[in-house]
Every structure is written in C-alpha cells, then in structure tokens.
Symmetry: C2
Subunit: 878 residues, 2 copies
C-alpha cells in the first residue's frame, strides 16, 4: 500500500487519496506551473494513523523519509542541514476544503544552527529570526497544544518593552530575544527542550495534522456540512517559499471571478512582505490585487496568465493562493472557489453562455442548499429611507440582516438557548471557535480582516450576511461589553442592521422584504424545471407563506397544518372551549365558532393556489398542546372557559401523556371526536365551493394523519364523506376532491396496499416515520446523539437526510405496494427531508410524484430534483 505521493505522482482526480489541496498541487505541477515542490501523505495514512491508535507505523515513517529524501534531491537542500537547509510547510488537506478548521505549520526544519545559516544565506537576519519565532509559536500551538496566549503574551510584552506597536518594527535582535523567551516558555510548560531534530519536528507535525481532523470544531464543521467522519485528511509537506523576505516579496489570494457577485473579473488581495497567514487572519488589511500591476508588473502578468490557464483547465472559478519570493511567483494552491449563491448562479449561467460548460453541468455546480441565500429578505425601501449609514465595512457576504448585537459567540448561543432570536455577532475578528455562534446569528460584523478573512469566508459558506474590516468600530468587549461607533455607544442587545451586499451598517432595526427570482437566477431555474420529474409543492398554512411559495415556484400545497390556524386569540379560546367542553353541545358550539375562521383560511389558500392541489391535513397534535400548563395560567384561563380552576386542572391532567408523540393525536382524535373531522371537512368543502363560484379552479385534497390501520381509515373517511356529501347537498354543488393519508406510522408502510384501496394519495410524513422507525424521539435524541457522533455511530442526523437503509426502504416498499393497488396513486413526502437534496435524489429514484417543503427551500428542491435526473442518468449519487 502506497501512502506518500510526490506532487509529480498525483493529479486532480486523486482528491480522495491526496485531499483537495494535494491533488491540485499535483495537477498544477503537471500543468508546468510554478509550484514549490513537495509530497502528500494520503488520507489513507490518516485512517491508518487512527487505526494504529494515534501512532505512525514504522513502514509509513520510512515512506515519508524516502519522499523527503527525493524532495531534498530535487531542491538540492537538506532538511535540518545548516550547510544548505530545506524548510518546509506542513499543511492539512481534506477531500473538501474545511476553511480554518485544520492546522498548518510553516518554516519547519528550523533550529538555532539552521536559523543562523539562513540569516547568512539570505543576508536577512530579521527574516530568519522572524521565521524561526513563527515556527516555534506554531509548533507549540498546533503540535504540543500549548496555550496560544502564553506566546502571544510574551510577544506583546517585548513589543511593550521596546515601545513598539507594529510587529514589523521589531529588530532582528528583538526577535532573537523573542526566540529565547519562547524556547524557555516551551521548556517551562512542557518540561522538555524544544525539539531541534528536523525529522522529529516533521513527524510530530504530521501527527498533529492528523489529530486536528478530530478536534471538536472540525467535527462541528463536518456535521454542519455533511462531511463523513471517516474521510480523514491528507498532509502536504512542501518546500517553503517566502513572501516576507523583503519588499519584492509578498503573498496573496485571488479568485478568477468575483466570488460575491460572480462578475468575470480577477478579484483578490495581497500583502507585500508577509506570509500567507497574515492575509487570512486579517491582521493587516491587504491591497486589492489590481494594484500588483504597478508594484510587480511581470509577476502580475504571469499571474493573470496562470489564472486563465487554471479556469480553462478546471472549467470553474478558481480560488488561488500565491507567494512572490524576491520577484518570483509561486502558486501555493488552487481550488474551486467558494462563492455566494448569487455569484454561483451568475458564474454557472455565464459559463454556459461562454460555452465552457453544459446546462446540466451548470445545474450540478450549484449546491441546492445555497439557493435559499438568494431568497432571504432585503431591506424595505421605505425602511431604508429613514435610515442613516453609521459605518461602512467590506461587503463580505451579501444579504440584509437586522438583530441585537452581542460580542461573543458564546453569548449568542446562551441567548439563543434562552429563546432569544435575531442576533448580530460583532467581533474584532472571528476564529473557528466562533462557528456555532455565527451559525445562529443573522449577520456578522467584524472590525478587522478582509474579503478573505475567516469571518468573510465562513459567512459566505453559510449564506449569511457579513460585513468585515469595519474599522470605524471600537469594540470594548472585555470590560464593558459595549462598542463605540462614530462617538455613539452601543450596548449589548441594541439593534443594528447590516447590508452585506454594500457594506453599510445602520444603527437601528430595519424592516426587510423578500427577494425576487429574476435574471440569471430565473434562467437557471428554468433549466432545472425543464429537466426535473418531481413536482415541488410547499408546506404552508397561511396566505403569506402560500403566496411566497408560489413566487418561489411551488406547484401546490403539499401540507397545510390546520393546527397552526388555531393559535390566534379568538380561535384558541374556542378551541380550548372545544377541548374542555363538559357536554357535546358546548363542544359543537365551540366548533361552530371555529368553522368560519377555518373556512376563510382555506378560501385564501385556494385563492392563491388557483388550479393547483392543496393538501389539507386534519388536526394532528395532541390536544394538551393547546392548553397552558402552569397553575397561574390555568387560574386565569378557567373562568373564561366557564370552568372552575379544579375542573380545568383536572382536564389538563387527564390530557397529560407519558409519550405524547405516540399518544392521542392524528386520526385518533377524529375517532374520539368525529365532530372535529366533520367541522374541518365542512370548512374545506364550503371554502372550495365559495372559491369555485368565483370561477377559480380548486383542488382540495384532505389528508388524514397517523393512519396505522385500515379500519381507522375507513372510519374517518366515512365521517368525512358523509359530511362532504351533506355540504354538497346543502349547497347543491359537487366539488371534486380527494381523500388521502399521511404515511408516518411504520405499520402503514407495511399495509400500504390495503390503505391504497381507500386512500387516493399518500404523503410520507418522514419526520414521524423516522422517529418511529428508529424508535427515537426527536425532542429527546439530541441528548444522546452527541455521543453517537462522538463514537462514529452516526455520521449525520437522520432527521436531516432520509435514512435510506431503514426509513427509505419502508417508503420504497409502501410506494410499490400502493401502486400495485392503485397504479395512479399520488405519492409525495412532506417531512423536513423534502427540502434536503440527498433525500430529494432518493425520492426521485424511487419514483415519488412530489416533494413538499417550506417556501424558502422550494428553489433548492427544484434544483435538486433536476440534479436527481442528471445523477440518475449518470448513475451517481452524492
């Protein structure tokens, strides 16, 4: 088994083994581009490292040392040899990019002798010492896991002692002093001497990269991004080139197109006399790439040429890292660049028009999950008129956001758990530790860092509004938890609004409005629509949701949850009267009061969904959800219901269940209280008649939830049909309607052939079906699932993507059984899985008719449905 590959041995198709970075370094080498040479230790070696309980086996060590020898021969330098020292970088590189997640070590191979030698050879002692101290610092942090703060503190103290503010003002002697103190601190903390043997340094660094695959934050990132735990990371060992060796040196990152807008223009930034980390970390604010033309015109021209070669070669927008060492350009990385959804669409459509890729390739280029970024609110014009911009930063990730400011990710998390919503996370700069807080915030505002800083990259990945480098803000987090902008003080919890597309910051709450699907987006979606077989419907309970869903392309309502219609004040009052009714008369009276509300709700839905199917589910949740539970609330409520406190308390107690998820709910309610089903059937059919009388085509479909037994279905269907016929007689009008069921009880999937005799459609309720098939309650599983992730038992949450092996098989079985009985039965899913691309591929594969998801997920579902067709053709599934 081969574990180590020199750059010359690989190519871009070997990502699974070499990781993304390694494969692309090999590809660029193959293309003859200027790449500092090196080798890649494969992802399989990472897996082996974990199998070997965190050790590098002797054979593997040998292989690494052999490749090192090859590299030494190639470069004519030797690692650790003061006579002609080779220095290398050690970087992680997983199959897919995990920005900021994995650790990097630069300048490896340094020790006192090597440092002196380099100082002499480069005639730049300051550079040599700075490289050395950086190495000690990184090694201590990444390999030995010593507290960052110790070394940063030492560094700051020396700056203080010397009365210096900028790092670059430290002299070579100052840096020598830093090195001495660093080594002593290292010894102090570890009780061992800092390793001087370069091979020991190398092997330790490699192990550290492997270990970093399993840090908590890497795991979180993988879970958030559906990256399997067992992929592992590769390690790239590459000879060092230096952007910080003088004024004809520099380093930068660039995109072949604008990653925020997609416009075809070289886009990027660089810092002269700096190492790569300086750009990404956002400590100094970099220059736009175009200015390089003036500084180093030849380098710039060469770079432009390479950009074209790479985009042509990869047929995608590239995100590249480069370093200039004494006027010589080196490419350190290329990869398909992350981009905003807006840019992604524009680039894909442009590339089709440019003849670079096909429509189908374009469709596969976009992650369906990204699309909902394009649908998120922008500021209302009206609201903007009265607003003034109080600060301006870099437009790092587009979209509008409004929320309360907090100064740490932890605080955002804490508030979120307390039930608060709408946050703007304000930070000096973000770091990987902030990921979860960023995920919860509406928007992110940072003081430092450029367009490629951590905050900017991560926010774009999340489709989250972000303004970075807004250095007009002064954040005083540590002591007062306030920030000052333009002289005005903002406290924790104050509202701020961000426009991530312009970089404008507003000091108040602003109203937002929904986006529109136009231009390239519309064109792109039309390609998807032409291709897909799955219909896409929406889960919507209100006129507002339904209207929005139609704008986003919904082809009907796949799930209207009628219980959501009961929560308005007057309605909940009557609903509670219905629940607590001491006599059938009171119950019927309460239901009669609810009827007009329901009818008018349904009328609105039918109106919006002109000529499209509207699936209305009968009341589903347990009745206790409609009653308050605290003594205080009960005391207040009781008299309004004409009940004594004790009576109400008893009623609430009698409704209490041990396992409400498996209790008295769904069609079971209709068995006990057929009058509820009757009222709902009447409301639906009366609404349908009223709207049909306006010459609008209505297609009502009544869905009975939680069916597990044929006789249940027969009973409830009989109740519905009797009432529907009654209404039709009263109104002297026939309405065409369907009655179907939700398939969410495992038993229903087994007897689906029977059920299909009476049900005209099935909607798979994959949330409950997953709960029951796995036997775990979603509300409780979070507690133990974290152990499941930690122990690699689960790779991902089965409530996010359909568990194809278990739940999926039941759905497939039920579909086949149902079609045997009723070949034209309409089959769809309406659980949360319906918006998940992987699950949509599955639905396409087993031949369902539609998926139904929340409005914002509709364009993504339309895209995923078209991708399913392409993937099925190519017999490949993500």
């Amino acid at each position: 088994m081969k574990y180590v590959y020199s750059f010359k041995e690989g190519n871009k198709n070997m990502k699974e083994i070499l990781g993304g970075k390694g494969a692309n370094l090999a590809e660029m080498t193959g293309l003859g581009l200027p790449v500092p040479q090196g080798f890649t230790i494969s992802t399989e070696a990472c897996t082996k490292y974990y199998e070997d309980h965190g050790t590098l086996e002797q054979d593997l060590v040998q292989e690494i040392l052999e490749k090192l020898r090859e590299l030494e021969d190639l470069t004519g330098k030797r690692l650790g040899d003061p006579s002609n020292p080779l220095l290398v970088s050690v970087r992680s590189g997983a199959r897919v990019s995990m920005p900021g997640m994995m650790d990097t070590i630069l300048n490896l191979g340094m020790n006192d002798e090597v440092c002196e030698a380099i100082a002499k050879m480069t005639n730049n002692a300051r550079f040599a010492y700075d490289s050395y101290r950086r190495f000690i610092q990184m090694f201590s942090d990444v390999v030995v896991n010593l507290p960052k703060e110790s070394f940063e503190g030492l560094f700051d103290r020396i700056k203080e002692e010397k009365g210096i503010i900028k790092d670059t003002d430290l002299s070579a002697e100052d840096l020598q002093e830093v090195i001495i103190r660093y080594k002593s601190e290292y010894q102090n903390l570890t009780k061992t001497v800092f390793p001087t043997d370069a091979r020991v340094q190398l092997l330790e660094a490699i192990k550290a990269v492997f270990r970093s695959w399993n840090t908590a934050r890497a795991k979180t990132y993988r879970r958030l991004n559906d990256i399997p735990e067992d992929w592992g990371t590769a390690v790239n060992v590459q000879s060092m080139v230096y952007g910080n060796i003088g004024d004809r040196s520099g380093t930068g990152v660039a995109f072949t197109r604008d990653p925020a807008t997609g416009v075809k223009v070289l886009y990027g930034e660089y810092l002269m006399n700096a190492q790569g980390e300086d750009v990404v970390a956002g400590i100094r604010t970099p220059q736009p790439i175009s200015t390089l033309q003036e500084v180093l015109p030849e380098c710039y021209q060469e770079f432009l040429q390479i950009c074209n070669i790479l985009e042509e070669h990869y047929k995608d927008m590239q995100d590249m890292e480069f370093t200039i060492e004494n006027g010589k350009l080196y490419m350190l990385q290329t990869r398909s660049g992350k981009r905003t959804a807006h840019a992604a669409i524009k680039i894909a459509v442009d590339m089709v028009h440019e003849g670079m890729i096909s429509q189908e390739e374009a469709l596969l280029r976009i992650d369906p999950k990204q699309l909902d970024q394009l649908l998120h609110p922008i500021f209302e014009d009206v609201s903007l008129k009265s607003a003034t911009v109080i600060a301006h930063g870099l437009a790092a990730s587009p979209g509008a956001a409004t929320g309360k400011i907090y100064f740490s990710a932890e605080e955002v998390q804490r508030r979120y758990e307390m039930g608060e919503r709408e946050f703007i996370l304000v930070r000096e700069e973000t770091s990987p530790e902030d990921i979860e807080g960023m995920n919860l915030a509406e928007g992110i505002l940072t003081v430092r860092g450029g367009m490629t800083s951590h905050a900017a990259v991560v926010a774009r990945g999340m489709g989250k509004c972000c303004i970075s480098g807004c250095n007009e803000i002064i954040v005083d987090v540590e002591h007062k938890r306030i920030m000052t902008m333009d002289g005005k003080v903002y406290y924790e919890g104050d509202y701020l609004s961000l426009n991530g597309s312009t970089g404008d910051v507003y000091g108040q709450k602003l109203a937002t409005k929904d986006a529109e699907i136009t231009g390239e987006f519309q064109e792109f979606m039309s390609w998807a629509d032409r291709l897909r077989k799955l219909e896409v419907r929406t889960n919507a309970d209100t006129f507002r949701d339904a209207s929005m869903a139609r704008k986003f392309g919904a082809e009907g309502i796949g799930l209207c949850r009628t219980e959501h219609m009961f929560f308005e004040k007057e309605r909940i009052f009557n609903f509670r009267r219905m629940i607590t009714a001491p006599t059938p008369e009171v119950r019927n009276d309460a239901l009669n009061k609810i009827l007009p509300y329901q009818r008018s709700d349904f009328e609105q839905l039918f109106l919006v969904m002109d000529n499209l199917p509207v699936i209305i589910r009968l009341l589903d949740p347990p009745l206790h959800e409609f009653l308050p539970h605290t003594d205080e609330e009960l005391r207040e409520l009781a008299p309004t219901l004409n009940l004594s406190y004790e009576e109400l308390k008893n009623k609430v107690a009698s409704l209490k269940e041990f396992n409400p998820m498996m209790g008295h709910r769904g069609c079971r309610l209709d068995v006990t209280y057929p009058e509820i089903a009757r009222m709902q059937a009447r409301a639906i059919i009366e609404a349908a008649i009223n709207i049909e009388e306006k010459q609008i085509v209505v297609k009502p479909e009544i869905m009975i939830p939680l069916i597990g037994d044929m006789k249940e279905l027969n009973y409830v269907k009989r109740v519905l049909v009797d009432e529907i016929e009654k209404v039709q007689r009263e109104r002297n009008r026939k309405i065409s309607y369907q009655i179907g069921t939700m398939i969410e009880i495992p038993r229903a999937t087994i007897i689906a052939d029977e059920i299909a005799k009476e049900a005209e459609f099935f909607s798979f309720g994959t949330n409950d079906l997953t709960q029951l098939t796995y036997g775990f309650s979603r509300d409780d599983a979070a507690k133990f699932l974290k152990d499941y992730y930690a122990k690699h038992i689960f790779v991902q949450d089965p409530f996010t993507s359909i568990d194809e092996e278990g739940v999926g098989r039941l759905i497939d079985l039920a579909s086949k059984l149902a079609r045997k009985t009723r070949s034209d039965i309409e089959l769809g899913i309406c659980g949360e899985h319906a918006g998940d691309p992987k699950s949509i591929y599955f639905c396409h594969r087993i031949g369902l008719n539609y998926v139904s998801c929340s409005p914002y997920r509709i364009p993504g579902a339309r895209l995923a449905a078209s991708q399913a067709v392409i993937l099925a053709k190519e017999e490949r599934y993500k």
Copy 2:
C-alpha cells in the same frame, strides 16, 4: 340468500350461521331427541340488521313469517290465535356461548285473549296469568328497555298488599291484578299500548336480540374473551314448553361429567314447577339431579339415556338444559360444557383412556389460557391450621383467594385504579354489570345462586375462585357497607379468604403456596411436549421466579431484565450514585459496588438453569426511572448522594424526557456509559466462571436491547467482548457465551440481515415493537383504545395477541433476513405475546425457535406450542 332455518334444516356444523344454540338444537332434532320445534334466524341476518341501520328488511320479515307458518303447521297451533295458541321463546345464540350476556323472551304470543284461552285449555289460570305477566315484564325490559325496577316494584307492592312472601303464593286473581298494573305502567312509561299483535311482538323481540349483541356488557365480554365484534348473534324462535305448569313439571340443567372435578358422573340440578330462568338466576336453590330419580323415575331414565347419546355423539362433556312438561321430557339445549381447568384436563385425559378421542384431539380441547388456573396458589397448610372456617357455600370455582372485601364491582374498580390490590368481591348475587369488577377480584363470594348461577359460571370461565350460595352471610350493602357472618361484622377492606374448591370461607388473610404439576396434568403435558417444536423459556429475574419456571417446564431463561435487580435498597443507592456521579471516578466506584450483587444474582440464575440457556439483557429503562421525582424525596435523597438538593434536582430535570419510551434507554445508555455494559459483562462472565467451576454447565447469552443500527451493535459488542476477554484472561478460563440483540425497533427488522452478521441470536421484543410499529404508547393508548373498540376499529388489544398483519410481517421478514445471513441463528420472542396462544401459533408458523413468557404462562405456552403443530398439520388456525 337464506336467512332463516327450521331446526330440521340445520346441524351442529352450522354454528357460524345458526349460532351454537341453534346448531345444537338442529343437531338434536336430527338425532331424534325430544326438542320443542322452532327455527333460527341466522347470524348473517344480524349482520344485515346492522347494515340496514337497525331495521329488518321486508324480505327478511317475509322469510321469518314463512318459517313461523311452517312451525304453526308442524305444531298445529297458531301464534296469537286464541282458538289454539302457539307461544314461543325468543333467544339469542351466538357462535360461542356468552352466558348472561344476551337477552331472552319467553311466552311470546301472549295477549288477553290468548291468556284466557290458555287458562281454559290448561285448566290452570294461575299458570296462564303467571306466564302472561312474565312475558310483559320481559318484553318491557328487553325489547322496550323500560326500567326493571318499575315492574319489580309493582310486583313487590302487590305481594306486600296481599301479605305474601313467596311468588308462588300469589293467586290467579292476584296475577290478573299484576297484569293490569303492568300494562298500565307500560302505557304510562311508553305512551303506547302494550302490543297485542303476536307478530309485532315477535319482530320486535327479534330486533331486541340483535340489539343486545351491542350492549356495553356484551362488548366487554367479547373483548375479555377475544370474540370478534362482527360475528353477530343468531335468534332462536322455539315453541314453548312449560316447567312451571304443575308438580309433574320442572326444569333443570345438567352436565354429563362434573364440571368442577371432571369426574365421570351425571351432575346437575333442577327445580320442579319452575321456568329455566329461575334456575340460572339463583333465586330458588335447586335440587341435585340425582333426586329426580325419585320424583320422576321415567323422565330420569330417559334423560340418562339422552346424556349418553349426546356425549358419545359430541365426544365431549355436555352441558344441557331440559324441561319436563307434565311428565314429558324436552331437551332445550346442549353444548360442550364449561369446566374448570382441572376438570378439563381430567376429562380430556379420561376420554383418551376411554378411547373416545385421540391425544391430539385432547390437546386441542384445552384452552391454553385455562392452564394457569392450575398453577395458582393454594393455601399453605401451616396457614390453614390456625384458620377457622366461618362460613360455607357452594364450591363454585376452585382455587384459593385472599383479599379485602368490597360490596360492589364499582368499588373494586375504583380501589384498583387507586392502586389497591387483592380484592374479594362480595355480592348478593352477581349480574353481567359486575363483569369488570369480577375480573379484578381475587375471588367472588355470593349469598344466593347455585353452581350454575351467573357468578359461578362467569368465575369458572375466568379461572377465578368463587363460592356461591353462601346464605350464612347477611350483606347490608346499601346503607352500611358491611356484612355479618355468624354474628360478627365485617367492614369494607377487611380480609377474607376463600377456598373455591371446598366452599370454605375464612375470616382472615391466609398464606398461599404454589400448585404442582402431577397426575393427569403431568400426563397431558407430556403429550404436548412430545409434539411441540417450539422451545418454551421463561422471563425471570430472580431465583424464585426461575425456580418456579423450571417446575412449570421452562427450558431456559429467555429474558432476564437486569434492571429489576437494581431496586433493592443498597443497590438502588449505588445505582443512584452511578447516575448522578459528578466524575467518572464516582461512577466507577458506584458500579464496582453494584458488581458483586449482579454477579451473585447471575450465579443463582445459572445454578437453577443448569445446562439451559440464560439470556441476560443489558440495562434497558431510562435512568430517570431510578430517581424519585417529588421535591420531598429529592431533599431527602440529595445528602445521601453527597449532592445539594439543587444539584440533584437539576440532574433529575436533565434526565426528564418528552417521550421516554423513545428516549435515552436500551443500548443508547451503553453508548453514553460503556462502563455500565462493562460492569454487566463482567458480572455475567465472572458468575459463569464461578458456577462452571462447580461442574455446572452454564450457557450465558448476553442480549443488547433496542438496537436500530449496525454501528450501535458493533460499538456495544466491542465494549462487551473487550471486557469479557479481560475477565477470561484474569481468570485464565474460557467461557462459551453468545452475544445477541433484542429486535424491538422497526428499523432493526428491516436490516436484520446486517444485524445477524454480528448477533448470534435475536429475541423479538414484541411489546416495544408493537408500540413503535403502531406508533402508540401502551401507557397512553388505553385512553383512546376504548373509542377504538366502541367504533369497531380494533377488535382486540394488539398488546395481547401479535398483530400478524403489521408487527407479525416485520417479525417474519426479520427472521427470513436473519436466516439468510446466519442459517442457525436462534430466534425467539420475549414480549407478553409469548404467553398468548394465538401468538404462539404464529411463532410456530414462521419458524421461530422459542417463546419466552412469565412462569405461570409456561404450561399454557407448552400446550399452545403443541396445538400449533396440530393446527399447522390441519391448516387451521384459531
């Protein structure tokens, strides 16, 4: 479609259509026995009646009237014709006997003219008027549903007015007065005249019988006895004969063998000058049948002959009703007699020895559910020594019972719901309304009624101890809720003990002991054991249960629930420490303290189950079940655990789950706390080694509960195997053991082929599997299942008999999948279904290896397993 059959048209195989009574009346007619002629309206007519919304269709009415005409021609009498009146009885008769559940009307065809005619023809005015008043009373009660008390009150008032105590002392004139008052009461209550048209009477009566199929008490009886709702009842219309026409008339019931002991001797009782209802109602105490020899020797001889014919013909012990009218014997009914389990076994074994039936027929004769009657405790001899009999009644249903007395079924129910147990229900006499209370009581004691009274018949059916006709008691229920016996007063809640085999009543609590399997019972069971293929194991957690189970024939332990071992004081303390442990050290310390207990428990089980498999399930329930929940208990517990009240309260709160059934339990606990699995594995293997060292063969099988995913199983199995290997190394001894899983999560059934790669055995946990497959929680379902029964959606509780269509299909699928992977995999079930005969037939059919049930159900399971073999051969299943 034919709905009405004359007795000559039917036979005993037509029970489904004619009901049991009708089919046997037809059979006896065919045998040439003296049966008053008549006709039967089929069970299909009953179904049709309900389909026609409670009406008799015109065609059906015509058919009934035609058959009536035939009957009139046959008897030479005409219904409603004063010149030669025919009177008929109208009785229900379902497929299986439902004693006391259905309603009967006698003397139908009576009106003023007919009554006068009969008075003249019989020259017995008193008889004529008495028959008439009985008819009005029954018709008003059964057909029109008027309150019984009104008529009983009128009757009592006349007796009072006349100064008469016994009904028989009322004169013809008194009875004429009764009739006048009855008719006026009828008119008063119904605002209509009592119907005089005999055909109207007949049709109304038939409808009433049909209606009575659906009374609440009939439904309850059916549910308790697994009788499908849709069978319906037939109606038998039969010409009347009179046991109350004078001193050479009488009526009685008899069994061809003793239904309590099974001894081959004619057994029964009769009343002279009485109608059948008088015997059953227990108002007068009847005479033993043997005395009839002296009263009417010819009748007696004829009856003996008929008894022999019937038993020979039916090849089973018969339960017969007869009436003697002026010295002429008529047979009114024959059927297979209900009997105690003891009698059933003896009769079956005797009949095999008598050459009347085969062993296989004998095995099919016994209801496996009955057997547990034979296993129930009898009084300890020691306890009996100090006890004195305070009263004596009829030994109506055998067995020993001890409990607190209550005087109404409702009170027993109420107390039961409050959590009380051990009741003796004491009643004047029981009626069908008391069924549920009787079911909850340990024993039943009645003041009036004979061996065939309602209490006696029902108690025998339930296998419940009963003493009837204990007229030494004076019950004062209405006012004081006390009873007096031998001058001593007993209050509600006082203890009484009953010996249902002797009729002895003891005025105290008595210790009981278990029964033994000997004699005919043992012989019978040996036939079953020779035949059956299914192994029968037991669910047992203690030495006591395991020992008892072996006595009852258990072939190993199919389920040892280790959590039951944690509830003893010292153990629960350490278990709570384990749960609330703030550090791993405390947790491990607590587990180490529990280890010796578990080990010694397992040692005892291995000892009892010498050379038999012992399946031990790892800890299964959610941890919160081990902690108290009230503030008071928490405050008390906290310091003992070295925790503050707040800490403990928080811990308890953090363990609270929305749906604990689907929460953090089963193998999920082992994923979070592998140390629990480790401790249990160690306890099992150390115990096994300790016992094996005593030259006893141990067969430990470790069962992992709640597996839903392969990786779960892999993880927990790895933990177990590592620890087991460690123990084996420590002890330097190899133990042969198996690791398997409980299949109780629907998903596990779908991936059973995968699971079988790692699991050496499966035990289907049908309780949880049923909950999840149906999606209802057993704890909550009771609330809505009553509506399901009422609305005919469910016929029976799916937790009693395996739902073959749903849950059963999953079990079958899983078995097939598992055997594909591992052909010799051991498959069994250990849910409560494992003791249910119908479910055992199913298990046999799909080829499981064993069933595992509670000790008392083992003999029944052994029998059912043998029946499964016979039924499979005959391709018939109950």
